[in-house]
């Protein structure tokens, strides 16, 4: 589902963010992306979302080579990738419902379908009763769950999360991780950037570790995922 082939990303200022990174994530696989800040985690995620283009090598998502993707095709790729941010990027000028509805709105889904699918997503993260509230009224953990609902509302095959538990206490973090696991069980490829070592260790999943732009481990136990066959 996500494949990196000899990917190098160099920024103008002679700063090399990624060096010859190779890995392959299967459908339904859940993996962690770890490393110190500045190790290249964000760059790697940005390459998958086509916010950046690689300097060399190839990024393939869902069979699409992103290198040769024309600019106007980028939005259509992003519709297949759900993203959860550390600061969740919710809009405080609208309700929880409207926030979650955005990915469907950009796709031009009809209002009735939007209602149905948004409620399904909110139900999944346990916030169905708070659809009419403003995200500002919610706790940090709830806000993060709204962000997750928005990321999965259009059922993307790929889910990326950038420090999704960064501001949460361990118990809430475990809840969030449980949600991610559930998504991977239904076939979503989940890649979580995190440096919460304790949490990662407790999950016992595949781990991609970056060190100064190089992928040093790409191993770990592969559990659960519907990978292969």
């Amino acid at each position: 589902m996500i494949e990196f082939r000899q990917v190098t990303k160099r920024y103008d200022s002679d700063h090399t963010a990624l060096r010859q990174v190779n890995f392959h994530l299967n459908r339904g696989e859940l993996a962690f992306l770890t490393g110190h800040s500045g190790a290249g985690k964000s760059t790697l995620l940005k390459l998958i979302m086509v916010m950046e283009r690689p300097t060399a090598g190839e990024v393939v998502v869902g069979g699409q080579r992103l290198n040769s993707l024309p600019r106007r095709q980028i939005p259509y790729i992003r519709r297949h990738i759900g993203v959860v941010f550390q600061n969740h990027q919710l809009l405080f000028d609208r309700t929880v419902f409207d926030n979650v509805a955005m990915p469907l709105e950009v796709m031009g889904v009809s209002p009735t379908d939007i209602g149905r699918r948004v409620r399904a997503a909110l139900d999944k993260v346990g916030l169905l009763k708070k659809e009419k509230m403003n995200p500002m009224q919610l706790s940090g953990g709830e806000q993060q769950r709204v962000g997750i609902a928005r990321a999965v509302v259009n059922k993307p095959p790929v889910l990326l999360a950038d420090e999704p538990t960064g501001n949460l206490d361990p118990e809430l973090s475990a809840d969030i991780m449980h949600l991610f696991t559930q998504f991977s069980q239904v076939g979503v490829t989940v890649l979580i950037a995190s440096h919460d070592i304790a949490l990662i260790n407790s999950m016992d999943r595949r781990r991609l570790t970056l060190e100064q732009g190089e992928l040093v481990t790409s191993s770990g136990v592969v559990h659960g995922g519907v990978s292969g066959h």
Binding site: M1, S37, K46, P75, R79, F85, V106, M107, G108
Partner: protein
């Protein structure tokens, strides 16, 4: 490879989604456009003071050149009306006898371009002048009659154009015993020339003010874009196309244009109504049928359509310049 199979399934799924989305595309598209337009209008409505100020600025900027052009159009109507009553006055050489003058009058009348000729004899002219000028006493001091015989020539209708009159003047001037030829049309031609210049100036003004309108709307929309920066970022992140993020702002610009056009029309109607009384009186004093012509229904529609287009264009300029600056890469964090 197994993954390839999955990838194929994935792309099939994508295709199916595409099909279901295209079920009733036109209806769906129009519904969607209406929603966006309504939302843009609602946002303007929520900031009534700012919105009406923008409308007023746009209305004034549009009303000014349009009113000027309408006024000049009305003036051109006047000159074409008065050209038809053009008369040529030919003064004979002072010592030409009456018989000779009559002969000349007959000769001029024989020309195909002339409808009628009236000879005003010098004694008659002096008497009229004495009566009408109020300078009776002054004239009494004069030894003789200072006025020559005069021919008042009215051209045929077909010759009542600027060129026709001019050629007739040349013809009469070429005759013997003619001292001087005068056309009452002189001031009218000057008015025409002036109107032409003013019309051009008004068009230049119109172009400048239209550019100003585009810039004003562009700036207003730029502020709207800044205000909704986060929303644009998120829309781009979740796969909103450029067209999707632009559309609300283009509608905003069009609504500004619509309001501005209506304000401009109202300003023109009100000021023309206010001016029409005095102008009618003035025209009456000049025995003219001059009347101020408003924009009419077609003009009003054209004005509003142009205003909407200008608003849309302004929004488009702003969107083009500022939307691309908003890159979702900024919020993915370090």
């Amino acid at each position: 490879m197994a993954t390839d199979k999955h990838q194929k399934q994935e792309s099939q799924r994508g295709a199916k989604q595409g099909q279901s989305r295209a079920a009733s595309p036109v209806r769906h598209y129009l519904d969607y456009q209406r929603r966006v337009a309504k939302d843009a209008a609602r946002r303007l409505w929520q900031a009534p003071i700012a919105t009406s100020m923008t409308w007023a600025v746009m209305g004034i900027a549009l009303a000014l050149p349009v009113a000027l052009l309408l006024l000049l159009g009305s003036l051109q109507g006047v000159s074409s009306g008065w050209e038809s009553s053009a008369r040529i006055t030919a003064y004979l050489v002072m010592d030409v006898p009456v018989a000779k003058a009559n002969e000349l009058a007959g000769e001029v009348e024989g020309d195909g371009r002339v409808m009628s000729v009236e000879l005003v004899e010098r004694d008659q002219a002096l008497a009229e002048f004495r009566d009408s000028s109020g300078m009776k006493d002054v004239l009494d001091f004069l030894e003789g009659n200072p006025l020559p015989h005069t021919l008042l020539i009215t051209p045929e209708e077909s010759a009542r154009t600027a060129q026709g009159v001019q050629s007739l003047v040349t013809f009469v001037e070429g005759m013997d015993d003619i001292e001087r030829v005068q056309v009452d049309l002189g001031w009218l031609q000057r008015l025409n020339a002036m109107t032409d210049i003013l019309t051009r100036a008004a068009w230049a003004l119109a172009v400048l003010l239209a550019a100003a309108v585009v810039l004003v709307i562009g700036n207003t929309v730029r502020l709207a874009i800044e205000n909704r920066r986060d929303e644009i970022l998120v829309a781009k992140l979740v796969g909103g196309t450029d067209a999707f993020v632009r559309r609300p702002f283009l509608y905003t610009g069009a609504w500004f244009g619509l309001g501005g056009g209506v304000v401009a029309w109202l300003l023109i109607q009100v000021s023309f109504w206010w001016l029409s009384g005095p102008i009618e009186r003035l025209a009456g004093l000049y025995n003219s049928e001059f009347a101020l012509n408003g924009p009419g229904l077609e003009g009003a529609l054209a004005l509003i359509v142009i205003a909407v287009l200008l608003g849309w264009l302004g929004a488009w300029v702003a969107v083009k310049r500022h939307m691309d600056d908003i890159d979702p890469g900024d919020i993915a964090g370090g």
